[in-house]
Symmetry: C2
DNA sequence: CCGCATCCTAGTGGATACTG
DNA sequence: CAGTATCCACTAGGATGCGG
């Protein structure tokens, strides 16, 4: 997209880039209940390729949201857990879920109305 | 990305797709102070192509977040304003901005540390 | 077990020129 | 003024096979 000027170094944009990333959010949520191993994550998060899983985990680690721990064992064992910062982000994600659950029906109704031009809405969307 | 199973119809995912979209968020913020015309938006939102602006506006309209009003004048005048739902979403965006401003420094420090393996952090990130 | 390297494709989005 | 149409470049991300 290569956005301009102020968008690049804008704190909100940087956070949005992370929040907007499907896998990142899913992983953060998965780690909510405690540390998880790589394999466990790959199983729980249906449809993620190893490539994306690793890539996303690296990104989260880089941003200080999770900690990667390698246990000196054979076979190797690695687990991931949220940092305090990650926990904090989780709070934001929860707020988002909350909003989503509260308003998703409104959104879906709006879509139906929009996609069926003939159909009259039996209620109106009011401006602010 | 073509995510899986539960991710598709998950309310949070649908909202995240919108929240994660750069232009959508920018437009919502731009409309915070009241209705805006197409041209005004294109000027204020540096770097957006007409294609993306229109496309994003349509998406927001479809989701019931904004209202598009065509005034029967010559030359044509169209303006966009937030719905109540859009206002509500704006609240969520503000929360996000808040979090971003509060924690962006932590994230940036984490990145520096991560990108410079040699450098020792003079503080630690603690697990939960 | 954990993950990296490579290849490859499909969709996103930018630039530009044109129209009701 | 407010878009649409066309073309094209880019890159995210899936598949696969190998390495520590």
């Amino acid at each position: 997209m290569e956005v301009t000027a102020y968008a690049k170094d804008c704190p909100s944009r940087q956070i949005l880039d992370r929040i907007g990333d499907t896998w990142s959010v899913l992983i953060v949520v998965m780690l909510a209940d405690g540390p998880q191993r790589y394999t466990a994550l790959s199983k729980k998060i249906q449809g993620v390729s190893p490539k994306m899983l690793t890539q996303t985990l690296r990104g989260l680690e880089r941003d200080g949201l999770i900690i990667r721990t390698v246990h000196a064992e054979v076979p190797p064992r690695v687990d991931y857990q949220l940092t305090e910062l990650g926990q904090s982000l989780l709070g934001l994600v929860r707020a988002l879920e909350q909003w989503a659950e509260t308003h998703i029906e409104d959104v879906q109704r709006a879509r139906v109305v929009y996609d069926n031009p003939g159909v009259k809405a039996d209620y109106a969307y009011s401006a602010k």
